[in-house]
Subunit: 338 residues, 2 copies
């Protein structure tokens, strides 16, 4: 396997580091609009498919039965910063299911958001599972279990109906076979299934368009897309890539990070889904890749193009604020001469 | 440029991410004992050469004139965690030069050490330049300037005698030509000069043996090696790779990280220097690489081999402490069948 160099990290005039990767831009019928690198090798999407894992919550009627708000549905799709709003929203979801933090099986970690993390330290507190970036997804799983009359203990296990439903949704939307050989354990203890980038991209095109999905599933996808577009700060947090890119483009772009250098995205107006993976697992590379692809496909006016540029090619500054270099898309992602 | 895959990140039974890189193990005469990838392309060593940058401080007599302690000399070579001991030691160095934190040009950042960072937050404080992981190096620069009668302002600039002396030491020890094309600005605002891995490795072999160095420089190198071996917690911090590996091996191993996936090391008893760079800049990959090389060359008993193993092939656990995968050296660094 030798994927191309797709992002270069410059220091002064020299390339300091290089990221390789693969990516696919695919429509709902599976037609590849653009691709680079190995796109048929299964990769773990990790948190990038939280919106697919949230489909059963919505389409089963559980979200409505528990009167989940749009912000709560967005949080079910989030890798959130652990800020107060995220923690309170996750707790509210659990309360609607008659549960509390004790039911969460995701484990605790310090908030992803630096401000949230420092605030917690400053308050002399330590993180609970509510601060885990996956707490909204887990609260969603618990809401589904509760509304469906399933036991809530063990909801994170592959054999539990909640995880079987999530797996079935991923398999249906992406069209990928999720055999035993592609299963591993995610950071929050649920199973994660490796899926080829081509199938992930097609899945996000289908999620965005509803093409090929059962009507109930397509309707759930529309609600999820509306929820994340209306609450981009729920999906990640202030200052973070996913939130800021979605703020920039509103309903035109859905974008979601996964650990180890994966990003999935959708451009609904074009009917396209996008999926990238940095070979080395670097988030900075995956962000530059997905931003470069958005810039390549989405029709943008000059203002929007300028606003997107710092995401595809961020400037690196040192501790004194001096510009020391930056990232730039390279190889198949290099900016075309204009 | 296509360096080999040298570290694989496993999740379950699958490779989730892959790191490429290059490395060299070289003796003081320049004989290559082992190499993989491109070792003649200049790479920015960043903080990995702090021990070379500290040579002028010691060999000029400045360290003795200001009565710097062994711990303070170790801190001059450090990328420290910003723990209390580091901060106090840096402040003490400045005080010996009649200066204080206001003279530091490195900028401020939150302590690298998570415990130190949380403690600072908990105390309601924000970081000062003393918490910058480079504050010991900068305090060393200021001590050199003071003892030499040079102005202290602008000591971080390439044209200042302090930086000219540091550059000359790197050029002398590594034998690399440091022309204009290889200079950029480091995170702490001093110049950083790109040096081929082959030359870096040879430089650390010369530093460890004194071979090819002027007597005064060789003596300074011996003092620096003794200082870091006696104070491994000064060079990084509790729980960090460099400190823990040096604790494991005492004077047998010197190891130092640089940003963007660089590590340099020396094995004095073998007269060997080591230098590696992960193409993508990942510290986790560089650590696994340098640990694998130490294990390949240093004669170790079974206990020491077992102690080193988690550094070359760390286990990855999730937020619930469940083992989800791990890193493993690959390709040219794959463990030989035993």
């Amino acid at each position: 396997m030798s994927n191309p160099i797709v992002v270069e990290v410059m220091r002064g005039a020299r390339v300091e580091s290089r990221h390789r990767g693969a990516g696919a831009v695919v429509d709902a019928d599976g037609a590849v609009a653009f691709a680079f690198g190995e796109i048929d090798e299964p990769v773990f999407p990790r948190s990038a498919v939280k919106s697919l894992q949230a489909l059963p919550l919505v389409e089963s009627g559980a979200a409505d039965a528990l009167r989940l708000s749009e912000a709560e549905i967005a949080l079910a799709c989030a890798s959130h910063s652990g800020a107060r709003a995220h923690v309170e929203t996750a707790a509210a979801m659990l309360a609607k299911a008659g549960l509390d933090v004790a039911s969460l099986a995701c484990g605790a970690h310090w908030p992803l958001g630096e401000d949230a993390s420092r605030a917690l330290s400053r308050a002399g507190e330590t993180p609970s599972p509510l601060h885990n970036n996956c707490s909204g997804k887990h609260a969603g799983f618990l809401c589904l279990a509760c509304a469906s009359g399933w036991r809530t203990t063990g909801y994170e296990q592959a054999a539990h109906p909640v995880q079987r439903a999530a797996k079935a949704a991923i398999a249906d939307v992406t069209g990928a076979a999720l055999g035993e050989g592609v299963c591993a354990t995610d950071g929050c203890s649920i199973p994660t299934y490796a899926v080829p980038l081509r199938a992930l991209a097609r899945g996000f095109a289908r999620l965005a368009t509803g093409v090929g999905l059962a009507p109930r599933r397509a309707a759930a996808a529309r609600r999820i897309f509306a929820a994340v577009a209306a609450h981009p700060a729920m999906v990640a947090g202030e200052g973070r890539f996913d939130t800021e890119v979605m703020r920039l483009f509103g309903r035109r772009v859905f974008v979601k990070t996964g650990a180890e250098g994966v990003y999935c995205a959708a451009l609904p107006e074009l009917g396209l889904g996008l999926a990238v993976k940095a070979d080395d697992g670097a988030t900075r590379a995956a962000q530059a890749m997905i931003a470069a692809l958005i810039g390549r496909f989405l029709p943008l006016d000059e203002d929007a193009r300028l606003s997107l540029a710092p995401f595809a090619a961020p400037t690196l500054r040192n501790w004194n604020g001096i510009e020391v270099g930056g990232l730039r898309p390279a190889g198949p992602l290099a900016a075309p001469a204009r």
